[in-house]
Protein backbone atom coordinates (compact mmCIF):
# COMPACT_ATOMS: atom_id res chain seq x y z
CA UNK A 1 0.00 0.00 0.00
CA UNK A 2 1.24 3.46 -0.86
CA UNK A 3 1.27 5.18 2.50
CA UNK A 4 2.25 8.50 0.98
CA UNK A 5 -0.85 8.45 -1.22
CA UNK A 6 -2.93 7.58 1.81
CA UNK A 7 -1.45 10.44 3.80
CA UNK A 8 -1.93 12.90 0.95
CA UNK A 9 -5.67 12.51 1.53
CA UNK A 10 -5.39 13.60 5.17
CA UNK A 11 -5.87 17.35 4.79
CA UNK A 12 -8.94 17.14 2.55
CA UNK A 13 -10.65 14.50 4.73
CA UNK A 14 -9.90 16.63 7.77
CA UNK A 15 -11.22 19.67 5.90
CA UNK A 16 -14.49 17.88 5.11
CA UNK A 17 -15.00 16.91 8.75
CA UNK A 18 -14.27 20.40 10.00
CA UNK A 19 -16.67 21.88 7.45
CA UNK A 20 -19.36 19.57 8.77
CA UNK A 21 -18.96 21.52 11.97
CA UNK A 22 -16.78 19.20 14.06
CA UNK A 23 -14.31 20.83 16.37
CA UNK A 24 -10.79 20.68 14.91
CA UNK A 25 -9.23 18.61 17.71
CA UNK A 26 -11.97 15.96 17.55
CA UNK A 27 -11.84 15.86 13.76
CA UNK A 28 -8.10 15.41 13.80
CA UNK A 29 -8.36 12.50 16.25
CA UNK A 30 -11.01 10.87 14.08
CA UNK A 31 -8.88 11.21 10.93
CA UNK A 32 -5.88 9.69 12.72
CA UNK A 33 -8.03 6.73 13.76
CA UNK A 34 -9.22 6.33 10.18
CA UNK A 35 -5.64 6.38 8.88
CA UNK A 36 -4.61 3.69 11.34
CA UNK A 37 -7.61 1.64 10.28
CA UNK A 38 -6.73 2.12 6.61
CA UNK A 39 -3.20 0.84 7.15
CA UNK A 40 -4.73 -2.26 8.77
CA UNK A 41 -7.53 -2.94 6.31
CA UNK A 42 -6.47 -1.66 2.88
CA UNK A 43 -3.70 -4.14 2.04
CA UNK A 44 -6.25 -6.99 2.02
CA UNK A 45 -9.27 -4.96 0.95
CA UNK A 46 -8.37 -1.80 -1.00
CA UNK A 47 -11.30 0.63 -1.34
CA UNK A 48 -12.45 1.91 -4.71
CA UNK A 49 -12.77 5.45 -3.39
CA UNK A 50 -9.99 5.94 -0.82
CA UNK A 51 -11.06 9.44 0.17
CA UNK A 52 -14.70 8.48 0.53
CA UNK A 53 -13.65 5.50 2.62
CA UNK A 54 -11.48 7.60 4.91
CA UNK A 55 -14.19 10.24 5.29
CA UNK A 56 -16.83 7.66 6.19
CA UNK A 57 -14.61 5.85 8.68
CA UNK A 58 -13.39 9.11 10.25
CA UNK A 59 -16.99 10.31 10.55
CA UNK A 60 -18.03 7.08 12.29
CA UNK A 61 -15.05 7.32 14.61
CA UNK A 62 -16.09 10.83 15.48
CA UNK A 63 -19.66 9.72 16.16
CA UNK A 64 -18.45 6.85 18.35
CA UNK A 65 -16.26 9.21 20.32
CA UNK A 66 -19.02 11.79 20.56
CA UNK A 67 -21.48 9.15 21.76
CA UNK A 68 -19.05 7.92 24.37
CA UNK A 69 -18.60 11.50 25.42
CA UNK A 70 -22.32 12.10 25.46
CA UNK A 71 -22.91 8.99 27.54
CA UNK A 72 -20.36 10.18 30.02
CA UNK A 73 -22.03 13.53 30.27
CA UNK A 74 -25.54 11.99 30.18
CA UNK A 75 -26.39 14.05 27.17
CA UNK A 76 -28.29 12.40 24.38
CA UNK A 77 -28.96 15.26 22.06
CA UNK A 78 -26.02 14.90 19.70
CA UNK A 79 -26.42 14.47 16.00
CA UNK A 80 -25.92 10.93 14.89
CA UNK A 81 -27.11 11.02 11.33
CA UNK A 82 -24.46 11.39 8.71
CA UNK A 83 -25.18 14.67 6.92
CA UNK A 84 -25.69 14.76 3.20
CA UNK A 85 -22.35 15.10 1.45
CA UNK A 86 -21.52 18.78 1.20
CA UNK A 87 -20.00 20.54 -1.77
CA UNK A 88 -16.88 18.93 -3.22
CA UNK A 89 -13.92 19.72 -0.99
CA UNK A 90 -11.86 22.53 -2.39
CA UNK A 91 -8.17 23.19 -2.17
CA UNK A 92 -9.10 25.98 0.25
CA UNK A 93 -9.72 23.35 2.93
CA UNK A 94 -6.16 22.14 2.60
CA UNK A 95 -4.87 25.67 2.66
CA UNK A 96 -6.82 26.61 5.78
CA UNK A 97 -5.42 23.55 7.48
CA UNK A 98 -1.86 24.67 6.76
CA UNK A 99 -2.65 28.10 8.20
CA UNK A 100 -4.24 26.62 11.29
CA UNK A 101 -1.34 24.25 12.01
CA UNK A 102 1.21 27.02 11.56
CA UNK A 103 -0.79 29.57 13.52
CA UNK A 104 1.37 32.25 15.18
CA UNK A 105 -0.12 31.36 18.60
CA UNK A 106 1.80 28.04 18.40
CA UNK A 107 5.45 27.64 19.31
CA UNK A 108 7.62 26.48 16.39
CA UNK A 109 7.99 22.96 17.77
CA UNK A 110 4.22 22.68 18.29
CA UNK A 111 3.46 24.01 14.83
CA UNK A 112 5.88 21.53 13.30
CA UNK A 113 4.37 18.60 15.19
CA UNK A 114 0.79 19.59 14.42
CA UNK A 115 1.54 20.16 10.74
CA UNK A 116 3.18 16.75 10.41
CA UNK A 117 0.19 15.08 12.04
CA UNK A 118 -2.84 17.01 10.81
CA UNK A 119 -1.59 17.91 7.33
CA UNK A 120 1.02 15.21 6.83
CA UNK A 121 -0.96 12.36 8.35
CA UNK A 122 2.04 10.98 10.25
CA UNK A 123 1.32 9.14 13.47
CA UNK A 124 2.41 10.56 16.81
CA UNK A 125 4.86 7.67 17.10
CA UNK A 126 6.49 8.50 13.77
CA UNK A 127 6.81 12.18 14.67
CA UNK A 128 8.25 11.28 18.08
CA UNK A 129 10.83 9.02 16.43
CA UNK A 130 11.77 11.69 13.94
CA UNK A 131 12.44 14.21 16.69
CA UNK A 132 13.97 11.71 19.12
CA UNK A 133 11.55 12.36 21.98
CA UNK A 134 9.36 9.86 23.86
CA UNK A 135 6.01 9.18 22.23
CA UNK A 136 4.12 10.40 25.32
CA UNK A 137 5.95 13.72 25.14
CA UNK A 138 5.05 14.19 21.49
CA UNK A 139 1.43 13.17 22.16
CA UNK A 140 1.25 15.83 24.83
CA UNK A 141 2.83 18.46 22.57
CA UNK A 142 0.31 17.69 19.83
CA UNK A 143 -2.72 17.70 22.08
CA UNK A 144 -1.70 21.00 23.63
CA UNK A 145 -1.22 22.43 20.14
CA UNK A 146 -4.68 21.22 19.15
CA UNK A 147 -6.22 22.83 22.21
CA UNK A 148 -4.46 26.09 21.36
CA UNK A 149 -5.87 26.26 17.83
CA UNK A 150 -9.24 24.67 18.57
CA UNK A 151 -10.83 27.95 19.57
CA UNK A 152 -9.62 29.71 16.43
CA UNK A 153 -11.97 30.37 13.58
CA UNK A 154 -11.18 27.99 10.78
CA UNK A 155 -12.12 30.38 8.00
CA UNK A 156 -9.83 33.29 8.68
CA UNK A 157 -7.14 33.78 6.07
CA UNK A 158 -3.66 33.11 7.39
CA UNK A 159 -0.21 34.38 6.62
CA UNK A 160 1.61 32.17 4.16
CA UNK A 161 4.98 33.22 5.61
CA UNK A 162 4.24 31.42 8.88
CA UNK A 163 3.43 28.23 6.97
CA UNK A 164 6.65 28.48 4.98
CA UNK A 165 8.70 28.89 8.14
CA UNK A 166 7.21 25.69 9.56
CA UNK A 167 7.85 23.73 6.37
CA UNK A 168 11.39 25.08 6.23
CA UNK A 169 11.95 23.87 9.81
CA UNK A 170 10.69 20.40 8.93
CA UNK A 171 12.96 20.21 5.89
CA UNK A 172 15.99 21.40 7.78
CA UNK A 173 15.66 18.67 10.40
CA UNK A 174 16.61 16.37 7.57
CA UNK A 175 16.64 12.70 8.32
CA UNK A 176 16.56 10.89 11.61
CA UNK A 177 14.72 7.80 12.68
CA UNK A 178 12.33 6.03 10.37
CA UNK A 179 10.72 9.10 8.81
CA UNK A 180 12.36 11.05 6.04
CA UNK A 181 11.46 14.57 7.17
CA UNK A 182 13.12 16.24 4.20
CA UNK A 183 11.03 14.21 1.75
CA UNK A 184 7.95 14.81 3.87
CA UNK A 185 8.60 18.58 3.86
CA UNK A 186 8.90 18.50 0.06
CA UNK A 187 5.64 16.59 -0.22
CA UNK A 188 3.83 19.07 2.03
CA UNK A 189 5.29 22.09 0.23
CA UNK A 190 4.33 20.61 -3.13
CA UNK A 191 0.80 20.13 -1.84
CA UNK A 192 0.77 23.73 -0.59
CA UNK A 193 2.06 24.99 -3.94
CA UNK A 194 -0.87 23.21 -5.59
CA UNK A 195 -3.30 24.94 -3.23
CA UNK A 196 -1.97 28.48 -3.45
CA UNK A 197 -0.32 30.46 -6.21
CA UNK A 198 2.46 32.31 -4.40
CA UNK A 199 6.02 32.96 -5.63
CA UNK A 200 7.58 32.35 -2.22
CA UNK A 201 5.86 28.97 -1.88
CA UNK A 202 7.36 28.12 -5.24
CA UNK A 203 10.67 29.57 -4.04
CA UNK A 204 10.72 27.33 -0.98
CA UNK A 205 9.77 24.27 -3.01
CA UNK A 206 12.59 25.02 -5.47
CA UNK A 207 15.03 25.56 -2.60
CA UNK A 208 14.11 22.21 -1.06
CA UNK A 209 14.34 20.33 -4.35
CA UNK A 210 17.74 21.84 -5.16
CA UNK A 211 19.17 20.95 -1.75
CA UNK A 212 17.54 17.54 -1.66
CA UNK A 213 19.19 16.80 -5.00
CA UNK A 214 22.61 16.87 -3.32
CA UNK A 215 21.64 14.57 -0.50
CA UNK A 216 23.35 11.39 -1.72
CA UNK A 217 26.59 13.29 -2.24
CA UNK A 218 26.53 15.09 1.10
CA UNK A 219 27.78 12.23 3.25
CA UNK A 220 30.64 9.79 2.76
CA UNK A 221 30.00 6.06 3.27
CA UNK A 222 31.40 6.39 6.81
CA UNK A 223 28.82 9.06 7.65
CA UNK A 224 31.19 12.02 7.56
CA UNK A 225 30.18 15.30 5.89
CA UNK A 226 31.35 16.05 2.36
CA UNK A 227 31.52 19.81 1.73
CA UNK A 228 29.90 21.20 -1.40
CA UNK A 229 33.21 21.77 -3.21
CA UNK A 230 34.25 18.13 -2.76
CA UNK A 231 30.95 16.48 -3.58
CA UNK A 232 30.77 14.02 -6.45
CA UNK A 233 28.42 16.03 -8.65
CA UNK A 234 27.55 13.00 -10.75
CA UNK A 235 25.64 11.80 -7.69
CA UNK A 236 23.41 14.85 -7.64
CA UNK A 237 19.84 14.11 -8.60
CA UNK A 238 19.48 15.85 -11.97
CA UNK A 239 15.72 15.34 -12.11
CA UNK A 240 15.23 17.09 -8.81
CA UNK A 241 17.55 19.89 -9.96
CA UNK A 242 15.70 20.33 -13.26
CA UNK A 243 12.37 20.52 -11.47
CA UNK A 244 13.72 22.97 -8.90
CA UNK A 245 15.19 25.24 -11.57
CA UNK A 246 12.00 25.20 -13.60
CA UNK A 247 9.84 26.09 -10.59
CA UNK A 248 12.29 28.82 -9.59
CA UNK A 249 12.40 30.38 -13.05
CA UNK A 250 8.61 30.56 -13.21
CA UNK A 251 8.57 32.17 -9.76
CA UNK A 252 11.30 34.71 -10.55
CA UNK A 253 9.51 35.69 -13.77
CA UNK A 254 6.71 37.11 -11.64
CA UNK A 255 9.06 39.71 -10.25
CA UNK A 256 8.05 39.41 -6.59
CA UNK A 257 11.36 38.43 -5.14
CA UNK A 258 11.46 36.96 -1.66
CA UNK A 259 13.92 35.32 0.68
CA UNK A 260 13.27 31.74 -0.43
CA UNK A 261 13.50 32.56 -4.14
CA UNK A 262 16.85 34.28 -3.55
CA UNK A 263 18.16 31.32 -1.56
CA UNK A 264 16.94 28.96 -4.26
CA UNK A 265 18.69 31.07 -6.89
CA UNK A 266 21.97 30.58 -5.03
CA UNK A 267 21.37 26.83 -4.80
CA UNK A 268 20.55 26.79 -8.52
CA UNK A 269 23.85 28.48 -9.38
CA UNK A 270 25.70 25.76 -7.46
CA UNK A 271 23.63 23.10 -9.20
CA UNK A 272 24.47 24.70 -12.52
CA UNK A 273 28.25 24.38 -12.12
CA UNK A 274 29.67 21.18 -13.66
CA UNK A 275 32.62 21.43 -11.24
CA UNK A 276 33.16 23.46 -8.08
CA UNK A 277 35.81 25.51 -9.90
CA UNK A 278 33.28 26.58 -12.52
CA UNK A 279 30.86 28.03 -9.95
CA UNK A 280 29.64 31.50 -10.86
CA UNK A 281 30.63 33.11 -7.56
CA UNK A 282 30.18 36.66 -8.85
CA UNK A 283 26.49 36.02 -9.45
CA UNK A 284 26.23 34.24 -6.12
CA UNK A 285 27.59 37.32 -4.34
CA UNK A 286 24.98 39.41 -6.16
CA UNK A 287 22.24 37.09 -4.92
CA UNK A 288 23.59 37.35 -1.37
CA UNK A 289 23.37 41.14 -1.74
CA UNK A 290 19.72 40.75 -2.78
CA UNK A 291 19.14 38.42 0.14
CA UNK A 292 20.72 40.89 2.57
CA UNK A 293 18.22 43.51 1.36
CA UNK A 294 15.32 41.09 1.95
CA UNK A 295 16.23 39.83 5.40
CA UNK A 296 18.02 41.06 8.48
CA UNK A 297 19.29 37.54 9.17
CA UNK A 298 23.02 37.99 9.97
CA UNK A 299 23.85 34.50 8.67
CA UNK A 300 23.37 35.91 5.16
CA UNK A 301 26.35 38.22 5.67
CA UNK A 302 28.45 35.33 6.95
CA UNK A 303 27.67 33.21 3.89
CA UNK A 304 28.23 36.23 1.69
CA UNK A 305 31.77 36.53 3.08
CA UNK A 306 32.47 32.97 1.87
CA UNK A 307 31.13 33.82 -1.58
CA UNK A 308 33.18 37.04 -1.70
CA UNK A 309 36.23 34.96 -0.78
CA UNK A 310 35.62 32.78 -3.82
CA UNK A 311 34.70 35.60 -6.18
CA UNK A 312 37.35 38.18 -5.24
CA UNK A 313 39.94 36.16 -3.35
CA UNK A 314 40.39 35.20 0.33
CA UNK A 315 41.63 38.67 1.34
CA UNK A 316 38.39 40.24 0.15
CA UNK A 317 36.53 37.46 1.94
CA UNK A 318 38.33 38.19 5.21
CA UNK A 319 37.53 41.88 4.82
CA UNK A 320 33.85 41.05 4.30
CA UNK A 321 34.03 38.73 7.31
CA UNK A 322 35.45 41.51 9.50
CA UNK A 323 32.08 43.31 9.18
CA UNK A 324 30.17 40.25 10.47
CA UNK A 325 29.33 39.61 14.15
CA UNK A 326 31.97 37.14 15.35
CA UNK A 327 29.53 35.55 17.83
CA UNK A 328 27.54 33.97 14.99
CA UNK A 329 27.56 30.18 14.82
CA UNK A 330 30.08 28.98 12.21
CA UNK A 331 31.89 32.33 12.13
CA UNK A 332 35.12 30.67 13.28
CA UNK A 333 34.75 27.87 10.71
CA UNK A 334 34.39 30.44 7.93
CA UNK A 335 37.41 32.36 9.24
CA UNK A 336 39.43 29.11 9.28
CA UNK A 337 38.48 28.36 5.69
CA UNK A 338 39.38 31.83 4.44
CA UNK A 339 42.72 31.82 6.27
CA UNK A 340 43.58 28.47 4.73
CA UNK A 341 42.79 29.80 1.24
CA UNK A 342 44.87 32.84 2.12
CA UNK A 343 47.90 30.57 2.62
CA UNK A 344 48.02 30.64 6.43
CA UNK A 345 47.62 26.99 7.49
CA UNK A 346 48.80 27.61 11.07
CA UNK A 347 46.03 30.13 11.79
CA UNK A 348 43.55 28.02 9.85
CA UNK A 349 44.38 24.88 11.86
CA UNK A 350 44.01 26.73 15.15
CA UNK A 351 40.67 28.22 14.06
CA UNK A 352 39.37 24.89 12.76
CA UNK A 353 40.12 23.30 16.14
CA UNK A 354 38.38 26.21 17.87
CA UNK A 355 35.41 25.95 15.50
CA UNK A 356 35.15 22.23 16.27
CA UNK A 357 34.68 23.11 19.95
CA UNK A 358 31.72 25.32 19.03
CA UNK A 359 30.16 23.00 16.46
CA UNK A 360 26.41 22.54 16.92
CA UNK A 361 26.37 18.88 15.88
CA UNK A 362 28.64 15.85 15.82
CA UNK A 363 28.95 15.63 12.04
CA UNK A 364 30.21 19.20 11.83
CA UNK A 365 32.47 18.74 14.83
CA UNK A 366 34.08 15.70 13.25
CA UNK A 367 34.43 17.49 9.93
CA UNK A 368 36.10 20.53 11.50
CA UNK A 369 38.40 18.39 13.65
CA UNK A 370 39.46 16.55 10.50
CA UNK A 371 40.22 19.86 8.78
CA UNK A 372 42.44 20.88 11.70
CA UNK A 373 44.11 17.46 11.70
CA UNK A 374 44.69 17.58 7.94
CA UNK A 375 46.46 20.96 8.17
CA UNK A 376 48.45 19.95 11.26
CA UNK A 377 49.59 16.75 9.54
CA UNK A 378 50.73 18.74 6.50
CA UNK A 379 52.64 21.16 8.68
CA UNK A 380 54.48 18.32 10.45
CA UNK A 381 55.89 17.01 7.17
Amino acid sequence: MDETLLRSLTPSVLGILVRRGIDFAAAEDAVQDALVEAVRVWPADPPRDPKGWLTTVAWRRFLDAARADAARRRREDLVDEEPAPGPAPTVDDTLQLYFLCAHPSLTPSSAVALTLRAVGGLTTRQIAHAYLVPEATMAQRISRAKRTVSGLRFDRPGDVATVLRVLYLVFNEGYSGDVDLAAEAIRLTRQLAAAIDHPEVAGLLALMLLHHARRAARTAPDGSLVPLAEQDRSRWDTRSIAEGVEILQAALARDQLGEFQAQAAIAALHADAPTAAETDWVQIVEWYDELARLTANPVVRLNRAVAVGEADGPRAGLTALAAVDDALPRYTAVAAYLHERDGDPATAARLYAEAAQQAPNLAERDHLTRQAARLNALRRR
Binding site: Q357, P360, A373
Partner: protein, 135 residues
Amino acid sequence: MAKYLLLKHYRGGPAAVNDVPMDQWTPAEISAHMQYMRDFAARLEGTGEFVDGQALAPEGTFVRYDGEGRPPVTDGPFAETKDLIAGWMVIDVDSYDRAVDLAGELSAAPGAGGKPIHEWLELRPFLSEPPTITE
Protein backbone atom coordinates in the same frame (compact mmCIF):
# COMPACT_ATOMS: atom_id res chain seq x y z
CA MET B 1 19.77 -6.80 33.86
CA ALA B 2 21.29 -3.64 35.25
CA LYS B 3 21.82 -0.29 33.62
CA TYR B 4 25.12 1.50 33.70
CA LEU B 5 26.18 4.94 32.60
CA LEU B 6 29.55 5.22 30.88
CA LEU B 7 30.73 8.81 31.22
CA LYS B 8 33.40 10.31 29.06
CA HIS B 9 35.08 13.47 30.32
CA TYR B 10 36.64 16.35 28.45
CA ARG B 11 38.54 17.02 31.66
CA GLY B 12 38.38 16.19 35.34
CA GLY B 13 39.41 12.55 35.21
CA PRO B 14 42.97 11.22 35.31
CA ALA B 15 44.86 11.82 32.05
CA ALA B 16 44.69 9.12 29.38
CA VAL B 17 47.83 7.12 28.55
CA ASN B 18 47.77 8.20 24.91
CA ASP B 19 46.68 11.76 25.62
CA VAL B 20 46.94 13.68 22.34
CA PRO B 21 44.19 16.13 21.24
CA MET B 22 42.32 14.88 18.19
CA ASP B 23 43.30 17.78 15.94
CA GLN B 24 46.90 16.54 16.28
CA TRP B 25 46.04 13.09 14.92
CA THR B 26 46.20 12.26 11.22
CA PRO B 27 42.90 12.25 9.32
CA ALA B 28 43.24 8.46 8.89
CA GLU B 29 43.61 8.03 12.65
CA ILE B 30 40.44 10.06 13.18
CA SER B 31 38.58 7.88 10.71
CA ALA B 32 39.81 4.72 12.45
CA HIS B 33 38.64 6.10 15.80
CA MET B 34 35.18 7.01 14.47
CA GLN B 35 34.83 3.59 12.89
CA TYR B 36 35.74 1.91 16.17
CA MET B 37 33.12 3.92 18.06
CA ARG B 38 30.43 3.18 15.48
CA ASP B 39 31.27 -0.51 15.45
CA PHE B 40 31.18 -0.61 19.24
CA ALA B 41 27.71 0.96 19.43
CA ALA B 42 26.43 -1.20 16.57
CA ARG B 43 27.69 -4.35 18.26
CA LEU B 44 25.97 -3.43 21.53
CA GLU B 45 22.76 -2.78 19.63
CA GLY B 46 23.21 -6.22 18.10
CA THR B 47 23.62 -7.88 21.49
CA GLY B 48 20.65 -6.00 22.91
CA GLU B 49 22.74 -4.09 25.44
CA PHE B 50 22.71 -0.58 23.96
CA VAL B 51 20.28 1.93 25.47
CA ASP B 52 21.43 5.43 24.55
CA GLY B 53 24.46 7.48 23.63
CA GLN B 54 24.82 11.24 23.41
CA ALA B 55 27.57 13.79 23.07
CA LEU B 56 27.62 17.15 24.86
CA ALA B 57 29.03 20.48 23.78
CA PRO B 58 32.12 21.48 25.75
CA GLU B 59 30.45 24.55 27.23
CA GLY B 60 27.76 25.08 29.80
CA THR B 61 26.57 27.17 32.71
CA PHE B 62 25.54 26.64 36.33
CA VAL B 63 22.05 27.96 37.04
CA ARG B 64 20.16 28.36 40.30
CA TYR B 65 16.92 29.84 41.63
CA ASP B 66 17.39 33.29 43.13
CA GLY B 67 14.08 33.87 44.87
CA GLU B 68 10.56 34.95 44.02
CA GLY B 69 10.23 37.32 41.09
CA ARG B 70 13.94 37.31 40.31
CA PRO B 71 15.55 35.76 37.26
CA PRO B 72 17.69 32.68 37.91
CA VAL B 73 21.34 33.32 38.65
CA THR B 74 23.80 31.91 36.17
CA ASP B 75 27.44 31.17 36.75
CA GLY B 76 29.39 30.37 33.65
CA PRO B 77 31.00 29.52 31.40
CA PHE B 78 32.53 26.73 33.46
CA ALA B 79 35.88 27.45 35.03
CA GLU B 80 38.85 25.72 33.41
CA THR B 81 39.26 23.50 36.46
CA LYS B 82 35.74 22.11 36.40
CA ASP B 83 35.12 18.46 35.68
CA LEU B 84 33.56 18.49 32.21
CA ILE B 85 31.45 15.67 30.80
CA ALA B 86 31.88 15.06 27.07
CA GLY B 87 29.17 12.50 26.56
CA TRP B 88 27.69 9.26 27.72
CA MET B 89 26.59 5.82 26.75
CA VAL B 90 23.93 3.92 28.68
CA ILE B 91 24.15 0.13 28.58
CA ASP B 92 21.87 -2.53 29.99
CA VAL B 93 23.93 -5.58 30.89
CA ASP B 94 23.74 -8.75 32.95
CA SER B 95 26.51 -8.01 35.39
CA TYR B 96 28.94 -5.48 36.76
CA ASP B 97 31.78 -7.49 35.21
CA ARG B 98 30.23 -7.19 31.76
CA ALA B 99 29.90 -3.42 32.25
CA VAL B 100 33.57 -3.16 33.24
CA ASP B 101 34.62 -5.22 30.22
CA LEU B 102 32.65 -3.03 27.86
CA ALA B 103 34.00 0.18 29.40
CA GLY B 104 37.50 -1.23 28.98
CA GLU B 105 36.82 -1.98 25.35
CA LEU B 106 35.50 1.52 24.73
CA SER B 107 38.59 2.98 26.40
CA ALA B 108 40.76 0.99 23.97
CA ALA B 109 39.49 3.04 20.99
CA PRO B 110 42.44 3.89 18.75
CA GLY B 111 43.89 7.41 18.95
CA ALA B 112 47.14 9.10 17.93
CA GLY B 113 49.55 6.74 16.16
CA GLY B 114 46.72 4.21 15.86
CA LYS B 115 47.39 3.14 19.45
CA PRO B 116 44.64 2.75 22.09
CA ILE B 117 43.82 5.97 23.93
CA HIS B 118 43.50 4.21 27.31
CA GLU B 119 41.22 7.05 28.41
CA TRP B 120 39.51 6.89 31.79
CA LEU B 121 35.78 6.34 31.59
CA GLU B 122 33.50 6.73 34.57
CA LEU B 123 31.23 3.74 35.17
CA ARG B 124 28.10 4.49 37.22
CA PRO B 125 25.33 2.06 38.08
CA PHE B 126 21.75 3.36 37.77
CA LEU B 127 19.57 3.21 40.87
CA SER B 128 16.88 0.76 39.79
CA GLU B 129 13.22 0.23 40.58
CA PRO B 130 12.53 -1.72 43.79
CA PRO B 131 12.03 -5.43 43.08
CA THR B 132 8.59 -6.98 43.28
CA ILE B 133 9.70 -9.90 45.44
CA THR B 134 11.31 -8.65 48.60
CA GLU B 135 11.50 -11.65 50.89
